[in-house]
Symmetry: C2
Subunit: 344 residues, 2 copies
DNA sequence: GAGTTCTATGGAAGGGCTTTCAAAAGTAGG
DNA sequence: CCTACTTTTGAAAGCCCTTCCATAGAACTC
């Protein structure tokens, strides 16, 4: 059937051990033997059997990523970094899109199947407590991206810092009546961004009515969606409060909804209302959004590096890195266009 | 170390064969034995070793997808269909993003590594001729999505039909001077869409100047990008021809660029110029684009089904399915909003 | 109750690789 | 030329499963 090392061994007049050693570039093989084996292998168009290797090596060179599937451009962009880095290291990436908590559990379970993957990346999803112990027991490395648990490595975004910069930017442009269209508070980023928004205003001595803040009640995607942004702004407009001169919106995708709502009411951006949002997904530039940039590609890259380190040093202390978002100024805030990117 | 069927066999006082039979729900095991084994397996928290299974079964339950990575929302949406379908069948999906022809080759090569995957889905990329023979020899199933080769199964989009409908729609709205902003002609869809556009106009007895058609020269993504659309429209405007009252644009993402270019020149859509594009990616509705909808999720789903069939019947005749896009009317063409979706 | 057919079961073989171990071959030193 | 190492090599063991084969026992048949 297909060519195995036995075929090569026979043809090259050596033992299978030698073939394996040649193929793996192990030491202690004469150049002469090595070349003979390589020639035969090439001639027979030999392809190593991945699973047999994985079984023998106890290592699969495959990682899995569990993400809230494709509902959010943010993940896709991080994933891009993950995939490219992985690929250059000869690893494969299995993608699991989880649409609900039950699927998350199912995929986590699957990831723990001994030997299937060398590690799992969990994106933006809270790790169910009952898995914490399981993962530690099974010794399957887990790296959290955009989410947190003290027992595992994680890559995070400094939401508080980002929200502070965004808010300060609006203040520096002279805005004193500012609103916020937020996602669902059940998500940690939404909570963190709101808290910093409030705190920054307070420190600047600015008072705003409670009604200026709209938190989404939507379940889907924790309110990080276009619809949520649209409805959030509509809800605000329905409250009859004086229109703030600026809004901080908790994500680009929501901001797109906000923009649509404002257009519908003939409110101009940035002339009547300035907008600053969060993420800087690729889309943001199409809408000329001023936003807090997260280095998504980099985050993906780093996540992989962490994972590899963890695989190689299972007992190393847990580490958590947090990226600081940088302000990207475009048209929606009314300031000049210019690019200010702080990277940690 | 980790729990194997041997541990279960010992504990349950049966042979490993019996354990395997129970775990695989094979026939000929007494209920009593079956229950005893299951109890023990559960107690020991047994997880089958995926690679050992794959090796023994000669089947990995894993597919790979090679896509022009994440540069295009179209793929992501198809991928969503692929992933969900696959997941429900207990398959895993490995994703390979290829940024150039060389990477495509590398990934194809990797896919052929015996046993690694049960099959490969190739998206929108031309299959290099030298792989044709290799794939047939190695007997690794290959399904083409949005691309074509007579030797393999494929899922396609009826680009010609779609372009015809789009063009007819513009004609039916009264437009007589129509332009087209196209992608790079080195891509088959771009060629097909252009050909039908021309033919439809001709059949309607409408003559347009050659200068009304702009083909992208961009390499990146074959010109299916926002930048390409922006530049395409700018190039047209620089030609000094009378402004057509309508444009057919070869993809939504380009249309977004076109919109930006028109806005920059203060040309209103749809009042001054009507736009119809192609794809109906999720984004399209945010821009209120009238566009030709491709059932991307469905395409993904079908691709998987074909693949499974191919795996089960390697010798079945090659088949090719083509989806007919449906017109989705939004604001950009100036007609009333209404949803007209033809599905094949 | 002897002979026959089925069903349930244990365990070896096999899948293709890596790695360990022991033997063979080579090198150096005296 | 013999001894003491070192390097190279072949082959067995092991990774964990599925599957096949042979056997033991149960269930039937007449």
């Amino acid at each position: 059937m297909s060519v195995t090392i036995y075929d090569i061994a026979r043809e090259a007049n050596v033992g299978i051990g030698t073939v394996s050693r040649v193929l793996n570039n192990s030491a202690n093989v004469t150049t002469e033997t090595r070349e003979r084996v390589i020639t035969v292998a090439r001639k027979l168009n030999y392809q190593p059997h991945a699973f047999a290797q994985a079984l023998a090596r106890k290592r699969s060179n495959t990682l899995s990523a569990i993400i809230p599937f494709f509902t959010n451009y943010f993940f896709i962009e991080v994933l891009q970094g993950v995939q490219e880095t992985l690929s250059s290291l000869g690893y494969d990436l299995i993608i699991h899109g989880a649409n609900n908590q039950q699927q998350v559990a199912e995929y986590l379970q699957r990831s723990m199947r001994k030997g299937r993957v060398d590690g799992t990346l969990l994106f933006s999803l809270e790790l169910p407590e009952n898995f914490v112990e399981e993962f530690r027991q099974q010794k399957v490395p887990l790296v959290l991206v955009d989410t947190f648990h003290p027992a595992f490595d994680s890559i995070r975004v400094d939401n508080a810092g980002g929200a502070t910069i965004a808010t300060e930017h609006l203040i520096s442009l002279g805005h004193r009546n500012i609103g916020m269209i937020n996602a669902n508070l059940q998500s940690a980023p939404a909570r963190e961004r709101l808290a910093s928004f409030r705190q920054t205003l307070q420190q600047a001595g600015i008072q705003i009515p409670d009604g200026n803040i709209v938190n989404s009640a939507e379940e889907k995607n924790d309110g990080f969606s276009r619809e949520s942004g649209f409805r959030g702004m509509m809800e605000f407009l329905g409250r009859g409060l004086p229109l703030p001169t600026a809004f901080f919106v908790s994500s680009d995708i929501q901001a797109i909804g906000v923009l649509a709502a404002l257009r519908e009411r003939n409110i101009r951006v940035p002339e009547d209302v300035a907008i600053v949002s969060f993420d800087d997904v690729e889309l943001a530039k199409n809408f000329d959004l001023t936003t807090m940039r997260q280095p998504m590609f980099k985050m993906g890259e780093l996540a992989v590096k962490k994972m590899i380190e963890r695989i190689e040093h299972p007992e190393a202390p847990v580490s958590s890195v947090s990226f600081k978002p940088g302000l990207v100024i475009r048209a929606s805030c009314g300031a000049n266009k210019q690019y200010v990117f702080h990277e940690q």
